[in-house]
């Protein structure tokens, strides 16, 4: 479903170039929940942005559902992000002037679709947001905000869900709720790639990798 082959990304910096990820090869199939664990600065976010069709790598190939992501036109890549990839960030990234429900629907601005409104309501219901659905992000708790972000990522029912430290700002109860949802997404034949520095979080995945200084390794079970 998601495939990274020999991917490398170096940030150009005055003086010395910083290699963020080096020769990463990773495959996440439908139904898999893969956690990439690594310390701060290891290149986790970089890996996720490259996988999410937002950051062109210097080297290697990224495929989503068979499409070579960075060979696509800008237009087609934007469409791919809109319809086939869902993002969840540590900082939630909710739009401050939209209500919870509208934030979920914001995923439909770039590409509309049939019945998105009803699907948004269903997702809100599923994630326990119905009583809060008309509140602005500033009126929501961190856990509620992350659930809104999760619902937004799921609106178009993407094939790949990318999560960057999604529970970093949450208490345990909310963290569990988010992980449960990621796991159930994988069980429904989705591909989940979670990056985190948290060992415990990585424990929820079906498969675990370690990213260190930009290099990915898979510990033997």
């Amino acid at each position: 479903m998601l495939e990274l082959i020999d991917v490398g990304k170096t940030y150009p910096k005055a003086g010395s170039n910083v290699p963020a990820i080096t020769s990463v090869t990773l495959r996440v199939d439908a139904g898999e929940f893969v956690a990439v664990q690594g310390p701060s600065g290891a290149g986790k976010t970089t890996l996720l942005l490259v996988a999410g069709a937002l950051l062109r790598p210097d080297q290697g190939t990224v495929r989503v559902g068979g499409d070579d992501v960075y060979q696509l036109s800008n237009e087609a890549r934007a469409r791919l992000r809109a319809l086939r990839i869902g993002f969840v960030f540590q900082q939630f990234h909710l739009i401050p002037y939209l209500s919870a429900l509208e934030n979920i629907l914001a995923a439909g601005v770039a590409h509309g679709g049939p019945d998105l409104a009803r699907r948004a309501e269903t997702l809100a219901e599923e994630l326990g947001l119905t009583p809060r659905r008309h509140h602005l992000p500033s009126e929501l708790s961190s856990g509620e905000r992350q659930r809104v972000a999760l619902a937004r990522a799921l609106l178009h029912n993407p094939s790949v869900l990318l999560a960057d430290e999604p529970t970093g700002n949450l208490d345990e109860q909310n963290a569990v709720m988010v992980f449960d949802r990621l796991a159930s997404f994988a069980q429904q034949d989705g591909a989940v790639l979670l990056v985190t520095h948290d060992k415990a979080a990585a424990g929820r995945a079906t498969r675990r990798c370690v990213l260190e200084a930009g290099r990915l390794s898979e510990p033997r079970p």
């Binding site: 942005l49 992000r81 319809l83 960030f89 990234h93 002037y97 914001a106 439909g108 601005v109 770039a110």
Partner: protein
Amino acid sequence: MSLFRLVYREIWFRKLGFALGVLAVTIAVAALAGSLLLLNLHDRRTEEIVAAKETQTQAVMAKLEDEIRVITKNLGFNIRILPKDVNLLDFFAKDYADKYMPEEYVDRLANSKIVSINHLLPILQRKIDWPEEKIPALLLVGTRGEVPILAQDKKKAFIPAVPKGKIVLGNLLERGHQPGDAVVLHGRKFVIHKIQPRRGDQDDITAWIPLADAQEMFDKKGLINGMLALGCNCNADRLSVIRQEIMEILPETQVEEFETKATARAEARTKVAEEAKAAVAREQEHRAELRGEKEAFAALLVPLTLIAACAWVGLLAWSNVRERRAEIGLLRALGLRSVQLLTLFLSRAVLVGVTGAVPGLLLGVVVAASLGDGATAAEPGHVIGLLWIIVAAPLVAVLASWLAALSALRHDPANILQQETS
């Protein structure tokens, strides 16, 4: 959810920023519309004032013209055309010329393109006695009435011909007769056509008969011994102009001018007309000066407010884009295309323009009405003519926000999300 709902919700959320942009547009549009309207009001007021002045002048002129007609009718002409060889000493001693010229001369003048004289009157006159009425001396004038000058507009003839077989008597020749009475003059029978009112001059001892009768009585068939005309009031040196014109057509004549009340009044009239014209011109000049001042003020105010408003709207758009960096990164991650992102920011600019332009136009109308020349109201047509501003304002706002919107496109979503997450 549509892009426009996003625009609308954002504006509602950041009311202050939006309102500041709208305010700038309102002020700029008010300055522009107000200035244009003020100048328009000024022009219309000028037209009114000048038209009023002109009407007034025309009324005065018409009255003068009437007076002149009346006076001229009584006092006759001011140009006398005599045969060339008439000795003026004799003429003034005898009150008539003893030399003759063909009657056909009058037709020659009448058929010419002469402009310096009008109201042409051929006469054959002589001083005679009237034995039948025991009057020792009277001036007998034969005339065939006024001959119109073809090249000129036909003016009302003020000397009618004396009808055949009739006589018109000066006041002192009345001798107990009344119009309709028959009299005999040197054996010739006439019926009194009219007795003139007393004029206190030679007219009182003058009798008028048809020219043909006079020519028969004096045995001067086809001849006349003078023509009278009314000279133009064209300029100070008119006599030489008149002389030159007549000499070119009738070289065998001489031209004399004599002062009458008519000429005096004509001169006065010319002077009044000139003064009235000058007054209108002065008023126009004064109004033009005022307009110049207003124009100069508008020429400074309008571009200044326009530039300031553009800069302000552009700056606000820029700060709006900066403020929404995270949102831009997110929307990109959600698959928003460049065109959609541009639409997001530019439609906001359009709304700033439209929302500012409508009250700006109203404000401009109100300000212009309160500052304008009181009596004149704004013309609805002209206000409607200003509606283009409501179209132009959003376009200008879009241009002012253009760079800011482009900068939103240049924001790299990966960069934004990287910074925001780590």
